[in-house]
């Protein structure tokens, strides 16, 4: 919990510093090109599942896409939606299965100064923040509980356990315009769960949109984007 707060404070400071950096830019004499408020929208599709299934097998999957609005080439409010899940069997034959839709909302700040040089004008180097949410169900099956003394044997199957999770993300990444209106690049995310499950209560091993359940996690997305 303390860690989560620390991250939130840290990222807020980061955002403030970015904003103030941008504010300073505004005081520069107006010999730069005028940038309108609205600069179109971009659709990013995450293609990292292709790499991830090659590397980690079929234990987990996650597909996602994002829609960003380009404001002043600096601010990019973003909505991300996805579908993710896991199907895992442990060494003790305990099964975990889930799938669900997740959503994230947030904003990116472009740190790349827009040059007059048109070739690189649309490339981005950004930092940002997200608030993620997932409401999903999961199954925990074939949990064997034995008691050697009382000679008891139980096989438990917990099905349709519902869970709601919220998390906070700090993101950074790049987008390069490879040909006209088509972008490629990666996004690194540091994810921090908000709230912790009490000891002993049912808890999902995997959270759609977040990943394996730990207090803090790092993930990478690789995106192909199209600017409309």
């Amino acid at each position: 919990m303390q860690r989560t707060y620390k991250f939130i404070i840290f990222s807020l400071l980061l955002l403030i510093s970015v904003l103030s950096a941008n504010a300073q830019v505004k005081t520069v004499p107006k010999d730069t090109v005028f940038t309108p408020l609205y600069n179109g929208i971009r659709l990013d599709v995450d293609i990292s599942p292709v790499f991830k299934t090659l590397l980690s097998g079929n234990e987990t999957f996650s597909y996602e896409a994002a829609i960003l609005v380009n404001l002043k080439r600096k601010y990019f409010p973003v909505i991300e939606m996805g579908y993710a899940g896991a199907d895992k069997t442990t060494e003790n034959n305990i099964g975990f299965k889930t799938n669900g839709i997740f959503g994230r909302a947030g904003i990116d700040f472009n740190l790349m100064k827009s040059k007059n040089n048109k070739k690189n004008a649309n490339n981005l180097f950004f930092v940002g923040a997200r608030l993620g949410f997932a409401n999903f169900k999961y199954d925990l099956t074939n949990v064997v509980i034995t008691d050697d003394y009382w000679k008891e044997n139980l096989t438990m199957n917990y099905r349709d356990e519902s869970s709601s999770k919220m998390w906070f993300e700090i993101v950074a990444g790049i987008r390069v315009e490879i040909t006209k209106n088509i972008f490629m690049g990666w996004t690194v995310r540091n994810k921090n769960l908000i709230g912790e499950d009490q000891i002993g209560t049912m808890s999902p091993w995997y959270i759609p949109g977040f990943g394996k359940t730990t207090g803090s996690a790092w993930t990478v997305n690789y995106a192909i984007g199209y600017k409309f």
Partner: protein
Amino acid sequence: MKLFKYIYLFVLLLLVACTQTENCTQEKNVLMQIGFYKKTMDSTTNIYTKSALTVDSIWVMGLGTDSLLYSKKTSIKSINVPLKKTIEQTDYIVRFNNTTDTISIFHTNNDRYYISLECGTVVAHSIDEIVSTGHFIDSVSIINRDINTTNAENIQIYHF
């Protein structure tokens, strides 16, 4: 060419993120801890004082089984015993030195006490009531109703 550098970096990060062990290393035993105490009355102030009691020899068996939990174990201040996981009453026959008592624990079972995916779940208990005979035992008090994987004293048995 810049692009390849980024792809390389990305793959490297992924590989780092993919190492985990899958063995259960957490505590899975759920035992009720019983501590032994004696009450002594100060003859001048008439106030009872509690102190830990070391039992010279103890013998414990669950009612309905034929195996012993403790077999004439000497010099003991507390015992740890398992409760039934499918039935909500557990009875023990306890022999303190040469005096025998029967203790009945009425409890509620929780078969959803989650440890981790590797370890699964265990059955935790909540003590509702304790009834015992009074040969060696003077009284029983519940200190901590919740019995789970944490090591804590749950009940105290008093002997005069």
